[in-house]
């Protein structure tokens, strides 16, 4: 039993429960120290499977440490530490407790060796993370949180159904390669796909993340979707379908990001686009590609957190992250500006920044397999990343027209968290070897070749040049207050409208049928009234004599009838 408890995920969640009782001013330091301690435990633990539990004859493996799960557990821990530091000043017990349990559940899911354990943690990430949205404490966030929760829980239920079908067919619920075969394979694939924000299953992300608290979005951005990428890498590596899905994911969110006004939603579209690169890597499935997906997830969690941190700091100080209401903030928030630019250059994959040494592994793996169309789409998407995350987010927030906000720089703990994250982004970019060393497979890849540096700079600087040309010509779409419709319109507008129309139709038919039946009854009653009513033939009064004649006739008929009948 102690072997079961010797699990970073469980300990982190227990610490989350302890935080329910801690004095409020202890919450910040607790949220930083706990993940540091569990990270130390994770590194000390041996590789292999441990913590087996038997439930209803099923063997659960609660702690599996191997190449794939280790790198994900490490980055999840780092994300938890940085998010804890970033939220140090927040004395809101709901958020601090939820963040620890959420991070713990995500790590537990990564360490899960079977599908039932995975399912339990999968649902727990949904239940704990929704609190970070509800903690905004406004009616919109409440509604959005419910939509988010419903979709996440559906994903969990599909996972459970898939696991049950698999158990019935094979007698095993081990979480290894699953593959797209049979009902179980597809059910689990869709479950992962929802959490991974596949096209048409993606809108929960852009819907929910912009409505979480300033610090909550930083936490949310790290775990759920990257857990899904991990699960795909574990269960579906090398599935060709993922290459196509991933390529679409890199491309389509770009267009939405360009015209979106809410900068945290821009970053959510950008997150979706970055997931696409990882999904393509998983779909290629070679050692270089899986390494690339893992490395890119690692780098991405950091720079995406950094970008969300900078926008969270702006939201915290200014009260809005709408591009149409921002501008010129570098004068008030110079440090936040610098950190945001570092995040922007990392996601854009400038040389010396983290994206440069990780994304290129995926593109190279794609090229080695000869997928020139997919490779071109990924290159196209890379130019798009430069626009929405590389230029748009920092430019319209911190530069461009001065919107006149004169605010204080972000609090010390936010700056420190952003500073460390920025340091890691540059550190990975300058010296990627420590990251390469913990990837699932041995790395034989060199990102700093003259050709790679020059071609990447050409791509990025010429795209930036295009930005200056479009801006100066006045062709760049201006930032305006708006709602842009996306696929969520189907379930937020179309389906409710169709349901209302359907119910109205049923109601009309029902009313018509009941009306006709009532009218039929009415005419029957009227007809009966003619014969039986007060003026009817059966109600007229007759003399006694006439009655006697009637009875005599009836009797005579009876006598005659019985006579002939018996004869």
């Amino acid at each position: 039993m102690s072997e079961v408890l010797l699990n970073p995920a469980l300990l982190m969640m227990l610490a989350g429960l302890v935080a329910l009782l801690l004095p409020k001013r202890m919450l910040g330091v607790w949220a930083v120290l706990v993940p540091i301690a569990t990270l130390a435990l994770l590194i000390a633990l041996p590789e292999g499977s441990a913590g087996q539990v038997s439930v209803f004859g099923m063997e659960l493996v609660t702690r599996r440490i191997d190449g794939l799960s280790f790198v994900w557990s490490v980055i999840f821990h780092i994300a938890a530490i940085l998010a804890g530091l970033y939220a140090w000043h927040v004395q809101d017990r709901v958020q601090q407790v939820a963040a620890l349990i959420y991070a713990g559940a995500a790590i537990g899911a990564v360490l899960a060796g079977d599908l039932l354990t995975l399912f339990l943690y999968w649902e727990l990430t949904a239940l704990s993370s929704v609190l970070l949205i509800w903690a905004s404490r406004n009616p919109t966030a409440t509604k959005v949180g419910f939509r988010y929760l419903i979709i996440q829980v559906i994903s969990g239920l599909l996972l459970m159904c898939g696991a049950l079908v698999m158990h019935q067919q094979t007698g095993s619920i081990a979480f290894d390669h699953i593959g797209l075969e049979g009902l179980a394979g597809w059910l689990i694939f869709v479950a992962f796909g929802i959490k991974c924000a596949f096209p048409f299953l993606h809108n929960w992300l852009q819907d929910a993340y912009p409505h979480a608290t300033p610090t909550g979005t930083v936490v949310l951005s790290a775990f759920t979707t990257k857990l899904a990428v991990y699960s795909l890498a574990r269960g579906y590596a090398g599935e060709e379908l993922l290459i196509t899905i991933g390529a679409i994911m890199t491309a389509f969110p770009i267009f939405f990001a360009v015209i979106e006004n809410d900068l945290r939603r821009v970053l959510s579209y950008s997150l979706n686009n970055q997931l696409g690169f990882m999904v393509v890597g998983v779909g290629i499935g070679t050692e270089l590609a899986i390494n690339g997906a893992a490395a890119h997830a690692f780098a991405h969690i950091l720079y995406k957190a950094l970008l969300f941190m900078s926008m969270g700091a702006v939201l915290y100080r200014v009260g809005t992250v709408k591009a149409s209401e921002l501008g010129g903030l570098y004068k008030s928030m110079p440090w936040t500006t610098a950190f945001c630019i570092i995040g922007a250059m990392s996601i854009s994959a400038f040389p010396l920044f983290s994206g440069f040494v990780t994304k290129s592994m995926i593109l190279t793996a794609v090229a080695y397999e000869g997928h020139w169309v997919i490779w071109t789409v990924l290159l196209f998407a890379s130019a798009g990343v430069l626009d929405h995350s590389g230029i748009k987010v920092p430019f319209f927030t911190f530069f461009f027209h001065d919107a006149g906000h004169r605010v204080k720089e972000a609090p010390w703990n936010m700056l420190l968290a952003m500073g460390i994250t920025a340091f890691l982004c540059i550190g990975i970019g300058v010296y990627p070897d420590p990251l390469y060393a913990i990837l699932p497979f041995p790395v034989d890849y060199h990102s700093y070749t003259a050709a790679h540096v020059i071609t990447q700079l050409q791509l990025l600087l010429f795209a930036a040049l295009a930005f200056t040309v479009l801006m100066r010509k006045g062709w760049y779409p201006e930032e305006i207050k708006s709602t842009n419709l996306d696929f969520d319109w189907v379930y937020r507008r179309l389906l409710p409208r169709l349901t209302t129309a359907l119910l109205n139709g049923i109601w009309a038919v029902d009313r018509a049928v009941r009306g006709a039946a009532l009218r039929g009854l009415d005419s029957l009653v009227a007809k009966a009234n003619q014969g039986l009513g007060p003026g009817g033939v059966f109600s007229s009064s007759l003399s006694t004599g006439a009655m006697v004649i009637g009875v005599s006739l009836l009797l005579a008929f009876y006598v005659l009838f019985s006579f002939y009948w018996s004869a």
Partner: protein, 86 residues
Amino acid sequence: MSSEQRDERQRWLDRPENVTKIVRALWVACAALVLAEFFYHKHPYFGFDGSFAFYAVFGFAAYCFIVLSAKGLRRLIKRDEDYYNE
């Protein structure tokens, strides 16, 4: 008062001619990167990516295509800010 004054002093970036300087520097950097085509050894994956200044042309064209087509997309999908009434 003094801190406000410090805030309101004109910054280097507030002057349009300095922004123009940055844009010119970008043009120079881009020109240098095209010149660099003559000085490094290419190893293209497919062939077409080895053509002269492929990445430069692709980056510029892709960027323009993305931004301009997103503008078109906006005509289709833009609605009022409180469209969903939430």
